[in-house]
Symmetry: C3
């Protein structure tokens, strides 16, 4: 699947309208470019409809939400829905504050998301309206392991069936599912959690991949998750070789994404279908 998904991105340079947090926004823009897309960040309510209209997809990331941008997310999402553009949701910190909880649930009611990507605690919150988080990280108790994997896959499929969205739960093991089919992905490295924004970056890449593969959101999302994980692995190995640290790791992840090919993706993928 990777060749098709990947070459569609490279061929079409999808414009990705991105409403995201100010913490990791620069990295998100750079990974969208490195992945073959083109990012536009615009979050003022009076222009988001114009901007989303000229784009291929919309990414909504609620990392540093506020009253002004929540409104923009809603308006942009509805417009993208009306235009049939894929919309990707990253519910950063869902579970961590009443504002995030209400915003996430309200956006879920208002907008049809093509893809929802979060850690297991965030996705559980969306599905159940409850649970625990550790700030913007998954709670220890929620971590996906080989023991809990089948259960998480079943949960992801059920939630995908309920929402009509592709559900991407990322962590040490990643699960990307629609109602019928799940990709279990074991790419990535634990050190990626030592830099801020690897989740946000992945959501940006998904935005580019589904923007260029709107008819195929499950495969596009799974490909993006593999790409990010694989680039994280390669970056980690190079970081060790260079005797560097997490500052360099972040740079090397972007490097790896910019040098990625469909062949490398195909060979490096650690994917199982459930």
């Amino acid at each position: 699947m990777f060749h098709n998904v990947y070459s569609n991105v490279v061929k079409t340079t999808p414009l990705v309208h991105t409403i995201t947090n100010y913490v990791t926004v620069n990295d998100v823009a750079n990974v969208i470019l490195a992945s073959g897309g083109s990012p536009i960040m615009a979050d003022e309510v009076s222009e988001v409809e114009d901007i989303t209209t000229i784009c291929s997809s919309l990414v909504i990331n609620m990392g540093t939400l506020n009253a002004r941008t929540i409104d923009s997310m809603r308006v942009a999402g509805k417009k993208a829905n009306a235009l049939g553009h894929p919309v990707v949701f990253d519910p950063v910190g869902a579970g961590a504050s009443a504002l995030r909880n209400e915003t996430a649930l309200k956006l879920m009611e208002t907008i049809n998301f093509s893809v929802i990507r979060g850690n297991i605690s965030e996705i559980k919150f969306l599905a159940t309206g409850g649970g625990t988080t550790k700030g913007v990280d998954a709670a220890e108790a929620d971590r996906i392991t080989d023991e809990t994997l089948d259960e998480v896959v079943a949960f992801a499929k059920r939630f995908a069936a309920k929402t009509g969205s592709v559900i991407a739960i990322t962590g040490a093991i990643d699960v990307v599912a629609d109602a019928d089919k799940a990709y279990v992905i074991k790419n990535g490295h634990a050190s990626m959690s030592k830099i801020t924004g690897t989740g946000c970056m992945l959501t940006g890449i998904i935005g580019a991949y589904v923007g260029a593969n709107a008819a195929n959101p499950l495969e596009a999302t799974a490909s993006a998750v593999v790409a990010m994980g694989l680039c994280g692995e390669m970056a980690h190995e190079k970081m060790l070789r260079l005797e560097a640290g997490t500052g360099t790791l972040r740079t090397l992840i972007i490097d790896a994404l910019s040098n990625l090919t469909a062949d490398v993706l195909e060979k490096g993928a650690k994917v199982e279908i459930k």
Copy 2:
């Protein structure tokens, strides 16, 4: 010209009041420092007059504009005009939304800009109130080539005459013009468009250069454009040598700017006067 322009920056460490977008703001601050200036980012309307008063120049970049910051741009610009400080305008995404279009044209009416820097689509929009863009990038049809160069030079001079601003149109070939004289600059490398914010960074550097060379905005701007292009070339070569990617490229551009000398600038400049 480079020695004078450059040594004025290094000697005076110009403070640059920068109202810019949150996507590339960190890189803009770092390239201003690397270029010998000192950045201050402040965008709250109640303080922008105080801040611009203690600075040498003002940069207005509308990359992620909103109602609050548009007001600040207007107030800061008028104050800088009153003080006789150079004001540099980067109309990011002009042509891409009604809000950007109106804001750009309104700011053009209200503020006397010393320098306006954008891609060809953005500058055409400012000049004609129309045209096409591809988000924050220039439209393919607008690209400056050797064939269209004379036409673009004439256009830039006319627009400079009309506005009283130095016009910097940047792309594969750069044109920096006032009413009478144009510098055509062929420094730079295509890979620079694969990282976010090289345009914004250049605008920041122009802010530092004109801040230290207020009497000489044409030469200051041309020097800044050469500096950015040349550092992009050097960074690109080193990126290839290191077998790295676009994450590293961005770091290397800042490295090159921080190590630049007037001699390197003089020797590396690919400049023609038209």
Copy 3:
């Protein structure tokens, strides 16, 4: 002291609620992670009480303050005080505008800060309500030298006694004091001032260190100051070895922080008690 302070951070992974500027926020998040903490950036007034409740400490940095976030700083600070969480204040640019001056003094009245970190001009402004700054940098006349050191130490102790806060004045020489005891720290390198945000990063690290060492804010702050300075030195040396520049320097500082150990901290510290 370093072993205790440091191992408490690593053992507890303190969550640091960070209300900071959008210029350096990504670096602040990455250095908190590199130091063993976990950052959450949240600045909307309706959620800051929720977020600060689940955290170990709160950092308030007024680098790009605006009416909305000033309110959030006040509300978050009062809540953190009520919960007994350490609150760290970085009065970026105090002295540079009426808005910053009023905000800084108002926050000092409203919130009990465990630690206040700034350059000498900023801290003098807080103590006297006057003085000069050069934008976000210390005024030349204020620079701490061996000649003025005793005077600065006495000033820091007096201001610490008056406020009940640990006072961290950073520059070429750093002074970290409570009412009775001052650490004079000579780690660091001048090149650190050529990248934006080394002060903000340090404040973030202090947030992590005091979050994990709430009973011991003086030692926690001094340790963080040594850590940042020492990592700056190591990064500077490596930058020279690599024939790189300030873009790389910034990455190497984060690398060094991520590879730091209590032993390296102990051996590298250039500390004197006054």
